[in-house]
């Protein structure tokens, strides 16, 4: 529709539908719906959007009044035309159980492919109509009770993410076996089981966080990226699992991960868990049959450098990955830790001619100035002939004046460590201490 003059022509209203969808999808849902008041042509442009995302932006706009948000979602669904491929409800505290039931039941009749329900402030039970959404490709749930019917199948589900979910009436293995095409699995702080057996032939990415006692990779041939953060360490574990190196946790768990390319292991718990049943001095040189030929990137956090068992596990991992290119280690060493155990261990390694030939980039995150960590840095610099960059990120804990003097002397010392690689660059950064969040209400 033109106004009188040629200059002011409306060019946007006649853009083709797919471009309109691109534009409207990039708007927060309320703005997209409000375009219906712009002009005649715009009245129904938004009604066929395939993706509906109701997130915190709605909360701001409607001031988080329960009725308003629920009514808005209702009305959007009522006026909407066509299939809804993606539906997301996140960070909204208003919807009640019955609202969610109704919406999911509506969506199950409309060919939903991606469903994200993430409402940290509410707790609800997943309605059974969710299981009739058989086209689901991606499912992300949090803060809910997951109760599956005896026989169900998500034939097309490729990505599953469960955060703070409680399982009732079925096992995790049931769930995984009913998703034959599963490629991405994220489990965070799930309740209802503590032993995991993962049998997922198409799984490529796994992210595990929470309290698990045992993790067993039974059939995961395609698994390439793994992130494990087991925030658990039971002091009784020694009694349960002690044995010879053959049956140590390390072998049991990592045995299933030999094809992995990117491994991330976080928290104190996991390394101690793996260290059970291991004799520190022997480990790094034994079990040469367990090799990670595909491992290119390894990240370990909360490595307690005062504990030689943990350090030996870390060394073992690095040694078993002959093609490792990137290494990232975060230390969490006790301030009063003695340096002897670690120094001994490292010297032994050097004597045995250990060398990490492919390692190119190393990132160390540590507290500034702790000796065991510095020893480790020194060790790394002396066994990495291909090293290109070593970045050291140090936490600054207190701001006493004398600290800066200490810093500069330590920095100088680090710079003077002998390096076997001629092109190695060392960078030092200083950061404020980062505190990691753990959901306290869950424990």
């Amino acid at each position: 529709m033109k106004r009188g003059r040629i200059r002011k022509v409306d060019r946007i209203s006649d853009l083709p539908l797919n471009i309109m969808e691109h534009i409207l999808t990039r708007l927060p849902i309320r703005d997209a719906v409000r375009t219906s008041v712009l002009s005649k042509k715009w009245k129904y442009k938004w009604v066929s959007l395939p993706e509906l995302v109701f997130d915190y932006s709605l909360q701001d706009a409607l001031q988080n009044v329960h009725d308003k948000i629920v009514k808005f979602v209702d009305r959007v669904l009522l006026l909407h035309r066509g299939p809804i491929c993606k539906f997301e409800l996140s960070d909204l505290s208003s919807p009640s159980l019955s609202d969610i039931h109704q919406w999911i039941s509506f969506l199950s009749r409309n060919g939903i492919k991606e469903l994200i329900l993430s409402m940290p402030c509410s707790w609800y039970e997943i309605p059974s109509c969710l299981f009739s959404c058989d086209r689901l490709n991606l499912l992300e749930l949090s803060h809910c009770l997951f109760r599956c019917p005896p026989k169900f199948e998500f034939k097309h589900l490729k990505s599953l993410s469960l955060c703070q979910v409680e399982f009732a009436g079925f096992t995790f293995e049931d769930l995984v076996s009913s998703c034959p095409l599963l490629e991405t699995l994220t489990l965070m702080w799930v309740r209802g089981f503590t032993n995991l057996t993962i049998e997922a032939p198409k799984l490529k990415y796994l992210n595990l966080r929470g309290h698990f006692k045992d993790v067993h990779f039974k059939n995961t041939p395609l698994l390439a990226r793994v992130e494990i953060d087991l925030d658990w360490f039971d002091s009784n574990v020694d009694a349960l699992h002690s044995g010879h190196g053959e049956t140590s946790n390390l072998i049991k768990i990592l045995g299933g991960l030999v094809g992995v390319e990117d491994l991330y292991m976080a928290s104190v718990g996991i390394l101690k868990f793996l260290a059970v049943g291991i004799v520190p001095k022997i480990l790094p040189n034994a079990f040469h049959h367990l090799k990670f030929y595909h491992l290119k990137k390894l990240r370990l956090t909360s490595v307690a450098f005062h504990d030689s068992a943990v350090v030996s596990v870390a060394l073992y991992l690095i040694r078993s990955a002959p093609y490792l290119q990137k290494l990232e280690i975060s230390g969490s060493t006790r301030v009063d830790a003695g340096v002897e155990p670690v120094k001994e261990l490292l010297e032994l390694q050097e004597c045995l001619g250990c060398s990490f030939n492919q390692l190119q980039i190393v990132t160390m995150k540590c507290s500034f100035g702790l000796r065991p960590e510095l020893e480790f840095i020194k060790f790394l610099l002396s066994v990495t002939p291909a090293l290109e960059k070593m970045s050291i990120h140090a936490d600054s804990k207190d701001d006493t004046q004398c600290r800066s003097k200490l810093e500069s002397t330590i920095l100088e010392e680090v710079m003077r460590f002998p390096r076997v690689s001629s092109k190695a660059e060392i960078e030092c950064f200083e950061h404020l201490q980062i505190v990691e969040y753990r959901p306290s209400s869950w424990m």
Binding site: M1, R3, K8, V9, D10, R11, I12, S13, D14, L15, P16, L17, N18, I19, H22, I23, L24, R26, L27, P28, D31, V33, R34, T35, S36, V37, L38, S39, K40, K41, W42, K43, Y44, K45, V47, S48, F72, R75, L78, L79, R81, G82, P83
Partner: protein
């Protein structure tokens, strides 16, 4: 001057160029690697071998005019170099989209027709940023949109509850029907227009509605569907469709139909258009009673238009709420005129007249 005539062949001459022709006939040449960055051009070159010389220039889609083409080629020229860092690319993109809205829209549509997805994403994002957080007046100002919706319409989708609206609109629907029936009775020589019967199943229609790209394949008339036949005063639930003697119910709406025009707009036909459409006259007056029917006759054209739009919207909603009922309705009775209302992907309405089955 052919290359063979040159004594020394310099390296620059060996660089290959692609020839492109825009819709207005002008021809440009551009370096091959730049042109190949566009999937559509790349495909043309590889599949048809065109573009290697001036006579065999690749014709670009209509949406690409010369100024837009040079913008696009600038974009391609920058991004096709693999050595650029992400930061460089980002800052180029930010500067690139700082153009007026007119050119931005043209660029978006040209990039889309050349299938240059990264540029489509970039421009869509820019347009979305211009819309986000603004008031309707500001948006209309930015894009020169006409402010052609009535106050009622603007508030309608998000304000009223469904029940009130339906009752009100149904009343208006009856009022309009009665009015237009009166008019028809004035017309003398009317012939029945033949329309093709649409044999598509409900599923086909739905998938067509849902998957429609804004254009109709041909001018096909979907099957006529029964409209709401409720009388005021009877049950308030529109889904209890009282399919009875109201033969002429939909004549008014049929007469108000028009074939879609190119922009996909629906016009509530003015009375003059109604006169053009041919509908069989039947001497049967509807027996519906309502209050606002008489009031409507005294309204000025603007209000009439408004009502027309409301009714049309309402009719659309009812229609698309009842796909399964359509079949039911179609199979009932014979002496009915039905009107179908379907919606294309753009959301505009389309109505067709059709003879009822005899």
């Amino acid at each position: 001057m052919s290359e063979g005539e040159m004594a020394i062949i310099k390296p620059e001459v060996m660089k290959s160029y692609i020839w492109l022709q825009t819709a207005d006939g002008s021809i440009q040449q551009v370096e091959e690697e730049v042109a190949m960055f566009c999937p559509m051009i790349c495909r043309e070159i590889l599949q048809t071998g065109m573009g290697s010389s001036k006579n065999y220039a690749i014709s670009l889609p209509q949406k690409v005019n010369p100024t837009t083409l040079s913008l696009i080629l600038d974009y391609c020229r920058f991004h096709q170099l693999p050595g650029r860092s992400n930061k460089e690319r980002k800052s180029f993109d930010e500067k690139f989209i700082r153009i007026d809205t007119k050119r931005l829209c043209e660029l978006t549509s040209a990039a889309d027709s050349l299938q240059l997805k990264p540029l489509v994403d970039l421009t869509s994002r820019a347009l979305a940023r211009m819309i986000e957080g603004k008031t309707p007046e500001e948006i209309r100002e930015t894009f020169h949109l006409p402010d052609d919706l009535t106050e009622e319409e603007k508030l309608e989708p998000l304000r009223n509850t469904a029940d009130d609206l339906r009752i009100r609109l149904l009343n208006r629907l009856y009022a309009r029907k009665r009015k237009e029936l009166k008019e028809k009775q004035k017309m003398k020589n009317v012939e029945v227009e033949e329309e093709r019967v649409d044999d598509r199943s409900v599923d086909d229609l739905l998938s067509f509605i849902n998957g429609g790209d804004g254009g109709f394949e041909g001018v096909r008339a979907p099957k006529n569907k029964k409209k709401n036949q409720r009388r005021k005063g009877h049950s308030k639930d529109p889904s209890t469709n009282d399919v009875n003697k109201n033969h002429k119910e939909m004549d008014d709406l049929s007469s108000a139909c028009c074939k879609e025009d190119e922009s996909g707009n629906v016009f509530m036909a003015s009375h003059s258009k109604a006169a053009k459409l041919k509908v069989a006259v039947d001497g049967f007056p509807p027996k519906v009673e309502f209050d606002d029917g008489d009031i409507d006759d005294e309204l000025d054209p603007a209000m009439k238009e408004e009502l027309d739009r409301e009714v049309e919207d309402f009719a659309r909603r009812l229609n698309s709420d009842w796909p399964e009922r359509m079949q039911e309705i179609l199979s009932l009775g014979q002496d009915r005129k039905l009107v179908s209302i379907s919606m294309n992907g753009n959301g505009s309405l389309r109505r067709y007249t059709s003879l009822e089955r005899r």
